[in-house]
Subunit: 667 residues, 2 copies
């Protein structure tokens, strides 16, 4: 439970209806000024939003980054003016009237859809339907885990999500509902804008299910309420705060309420507004203030209600100051790494090589994750029903209703949700999300991973079964184009480590990298150690000479992942024939691109080159010239044992040697 309301709220009686109307008019004025935008949500949810801020949300606009603030997610992100209007009115200084007047213009904080700017009160980027509520589940999990660690004196806040019909039609919405109910995330509430209109028109065009029943089936509390009745909304939010289950407040609303021509209509969603619409709305609602002119009394009312949050913040600060866990709390919340944290990784390659068990790079990653459990307890591992084949649980306890301290979340077969949860957890702060599944399933969470990249969140996505090394599960389960598809994504670092050493190095780089997500593509099949023991993290270079020939280089073999071992074998064979092959390991293209052109040219060499990767050539032309060769996949894979497939598709040391001889003959 959040703390009790402070006396100040009793003293004055804010005019919540006017607070709501102020949202309405700021929204339509901004949309009219921009010439486009989505008025449906801010007009339909104005009372909901005003009531939430007036009575329930715990926030201190002067300290928007306060870790124990309630989190507010606008999952129906197209209604962004609702959020900007609210933030402005509530006193988030960065959302000035000038910013609002620049709604949807280049450089404005008030972008078409909310884009994460937490210093301004925008908690998370939304706009792709479903992502917001799935992120909200991640935030609520983070809160529960942190509360278990630091106690409710330091961590006790809620996550509120504004939700549209679209979010609840998206499959990931159901994944969110199902897991939130299962995990009994009682501090999570969805405020559903049940306006029965989508872009196409009446929701009945495409949906006729009983949505509240679906929530109830997933163990949510469901409260149905008139979304324009402030007292009823207030009571519903109270009820949500009392219940140990997550709550759906199903708010029956009228889309675009206030604009006579559009309200309750399909056009209410985002049809262009006219001057007459806005003038009529001023008349109908008795709002006698010019555009962008909000009466002082409304600002005062917002200021008054925000006193509750300011007071709570002050009390919290005092509690934290005397809390024995303060230093660790601060470290977690600044994503700081303890000094010497990476020492546990120093001997790991040696131990891993000598320990029993499978030796894929996914297993190496599991060993790293396990070694870090004690050193970095802020890691929160999420896995989509693949505990055994990915091996990242080990000593970790499961996070659940009975154990909020667990650091391993069984997400079920819900990859898309898991991807968005990672965004929500990272955006929440305090914890470092580590997602684990197969690389073939990366497509399921791609939209969420793109959000992590767009938001530059420090999330780590660990993928196993990264190639035809999957074996007999066949082409559905064999990524061949997935590496390229993610290398194409801005801000996403893609690592494909060659062995345990590079796997540990990739983890280190990923955890030190706070300005964007990282993904690891790891092997199911054994990856023999190829890197000599070394004290320097060479993976930081993205690519480096793993083996330099004693004599002048004739050819360069450039490989990633398990194919680095093949390249080394081939170089041995070629050496016996008098061909001097350099072997380059290229675990991370993005980091390699960050190096100087001179370094890159020196590594790749001005000699014939062969790219080697059990994947498609697409993208490799960055490093291969038309006259160079590629040893990899020609298309989708097949069902057979891994070793049969590598042979079948010609990804072998023999094939590399043949390609090398061919190239040098032509040269």
């Amino acid at each position: 439970m959040s703390g009790p309301a402070t006396p100040s709220i009793e003293r004055s009686d804010p005019d919540i209806q006017s607070m709501a109307h102020a949202i309405r008019f700021l929204a339509v004025d901004a949309i009219r000024e921009a010439g486009e935008g989505h008025q449906g949500v801010p007009l339909g949810m104005a009372e909901i939003a005003a009531t939430l801020f007036a009575r329930h949300l715990k926030a201190d606009p002067q300290n928007p980054l306060w870790p124990d603030r309630d989190r507010l997610v606008l999952s129906n992100g197209h209604g962004s003016m609702l959020l900007y209007a609210l933030l402005h009115l509530a006193g988030y200084d960065e959302i000035s009237l000038d910013q609002i007047k620049a709604f949807r213009k280049l450089g404005s904080l008030c972008a078409g859809h909310p884009e994460i700017e937490q210093h301004a009160g925008i908690e998370i980027t939304t706009g792709l339907l479903g992502q917001g509520i799935a992120c909200a589940v991640g935030m609520a999990v983070a809160e529960a885990r942190l509360a278990a660690e630091f106690g409710s004196e330091c961590v006790d806040h809620r996550t509120w999500a504004f939700v549209g019909d679209g979010c609840l039609q998206e499959g990931m919405g159901q994944e969110a509902i199902s897991l939130a109910g299962h995990l009994r995330l009682g501090k999570l509430a969805f405020l559903w804008d049940d306006n029965r209109i989508t872009d196409d028109g009446d929701t009945l065009l495409a949906i006729s299910e009983d949505i509240p029943a679906r929530f109830r089936a997933a163990n949510w509390q469901v409260i149905e309420v008139d979304g324009h009745d402030i007292a009823a909304l207030d009571a519903a939010m109270d009820q949500a705060r009392q219940d140990p289950r997550p709550s759906l407040i199903a708010c029956r609303t009228v889309i675009a309420k206030g604009i006579a021509r559009l309200q309750g209509q399909r056009g209410g969603h985002s049809a262009p507004l006219t001057d007459a619409d806005v003038a009529d709305m001023r008349r109908d609602l008795g709002w006698n203030h010019p555009a962008f002119d909000i009466p002082r009394s409304v600002y005062d009312d917002y200021d008054t209600v925000m006193t509750r949050g300011r007071t709570e913040h002050a009390l919290w600060k005092a509690r934290l100051a005397s809390d024995p866990g303060r230093a660790e709390f601060d470290r977690w919340h600044s994503f700081g790494l303890p000094s010497d944290w990476s020492n546990v990784l120093a001997d790991l390659p040696h131990h891993f090589a000598n320990a029993p068990g499978p030796k894929g790079t996914i297993n190496a990653s599991g060993a790293v994750c396990d070694a870090l459990d004690q050193v970095l307890p802020e890691l929160l591992v999420l896995c989509a029903d693949l505990e055994a084949p990915t091996g990242h649980k080990r000593s970790r306890a499961g996070f659940g209703v009975q154990n909020r301290a667990g650091s391993y979340v069984h997400c079920g077969v819900r990859e898309h949700l898991m991807g968005a949860m990672a965004c929500g957890i990272a955006a929440h702060g305090g914890l470092r999300p580590i997602n684990v599944t197969y690389l073939a399933f990366a497509d399921y969470e791609r939209a969420a991973m793109r959000m992590a990249a767009l938001m530059k969140l420090p999330a780590l996505f660990v993928f196993s079964h990264d190639s035809i090394g999957v074996g007999s599960n066949g082409p559905t389960h064999q990524p061949v184009e997935t590496l390229a598809a993610y290398r194409a994504m801005p801000n996403m670092r893609v690592f494909r480590p060659a062995d345990v050493t590079e796997t540990a190095e990739a983890w280190q780089i990923a955890l030190e990298h706070l300005k964007g997500p990282t993904m690891l593509a790891l092997s199911r099949q054994d990856a023999p150690p190829v890197c000599p023991a070394r004290s320097e993290n060479l993976s930081r270079l993205g690519g480096y000479l793993l083996r330099e020939p004693d004599e002048q280089r004739d050819i360069t073999l450039i490989a990633t992942g398990t194919e680095v071992a093949l390249a080394l074998q081939a170089s041995e064979t070629l050496k016996a024939e008098g061909i001097n092959a350099a072997v380059v390991s290229l675990p991370c293209w993005e980091l390699f691109e960050d190096q100087s052109a001179d370094y890159r040219n020196a590594v790749l060499g001005q000699v014939p080159r062969i790219g080697i990767e059990a994947a498609l050539r697409f993208g490799w032309d960055r490093y291969l010239r038309p006259e160079d060769a590629f040893v990899g996949m020609p298309g989708f894979g097949a069902s057979a044992k891994a070793e049969v497939l590598f042979d079948h598709f010609g990804i072998t040391d023999t094939a590399i040697c043949n390609a090398a001889r061919d190239l040098l003959q032509k040269h």
Copy 2:
């Protein structure tokens, strides 16, 4: 309703329990032989499968491609041995004992997961959870639409899907449930293997919702039954066939039933089997037959029950033979195009240019789609709540409960389902699915589109809002890496047409292409006509010289989509400066790669080159050498009007000219 049971089924009383046990033993023998596999499903669903074949499924194994057969989808595809055993026993000759003995081996029809081979009875590729049931919704829609067209004399069959817990945890599963209930697809039934075990162990680790209640909320009939009680299963399937709603038959089962050591356990899913397991199972179930040795009586029972399907097939053939719609029925089902079908496209560019309304290539695509409505009534358009901004409905009627003849399916905000439905519709046959949404949402349906590519299905994916041309909706809605991510996908043709002419050409090529999917990336913003009127479809070449300079070429400008117009403008400016620029339009890289190296080299020219695309450079290095230039996006987009963004990111004719001058200076 399917036709009545024929008398033959009454004559003999098949031993369905033995028919089920035969599945069990074929499955475990094959898995033991392969050394790996998933026994949980075939052992747990043996009675369900045997009962379905014995009493309900309409199929004729000697004519596996019979268009009016029931469709059977194994959505829990890891249980593939269930399907192979069934098909073998039922008399699908291609699934021989030798094929089963080669389970999970290279080249076997019995791959790790089912891979579409309809001539052998494998209806569709499955294995990625959720895809199968979503495809099944597409199949059921196809059946209903075709029945409305050709009458129930010619089209009257059911879709049965075997479903695991994972399929129902995936969000796309809920999308499927929701839309199937909404569309009242009464001929669709899910047979849920409710074994309460997933790979991680007890389903309670990750789910505690009331799944039947979720189906009921979506207007399904739910029948709960003991999944090993043949009489009860038979009655439940009867009940499913009687009800106008889609039906969930929730079958309470014991995973791996029959193997004492594993049944009901986590290890039942796929733990390696031992010889002792198999020997104990033979003893416990009283099955005194060697491995792969199925008693004649079981084969006979299967043969007997399949008589029902054979008879129905014969009756159907007779009905179709005398049906006036036969020729059209055959044409639709062979994906044949009427002669001269493309004539309607000849004048379309002219008409489109002169008609009022917006002039984006998405609008051109809408005009094409509309023009084809009468010519190719087998087109079925699916759209995810973006009717107005994509404009592909026009004169089409909505497909719904009241109008099964509609050729436009309002899919709601459910892109992943929509992608899989396209697979299901194309795999079903008879209809050509056209999916329509924004390119930014392609990530949501990527896993399904990959299935279309893997299966080489003739589906068309139309995407609008293909770049920063989206404008103020901002970076969430602006694809910058999506073209590259799909160009990386095998078997997927990616078109980015420059104008209405190339859009119509792309449609023509896509509809003529039966061996794989096609996607179109189309503009929201106006795309002025750049192609002169022409009778030859030059887009077939993938890339071609749109403007050749009069004098010797100095530089080549290579562009796609709306950037072709910019390249043309730049070439004019450069010409005035005495620089001879050739302009290449490159609408489809995959088709360009199919041309000879000589042709490609001639088009691209051995002069400096500039690639121009409002997207990232990733992938372009195939056509650009390190010394060449690229005018495009540096990363994610921003929120502002389209014209502001093109200017801001330097994707203008001026920028192209500057790049050209720079290149030529260096040269």
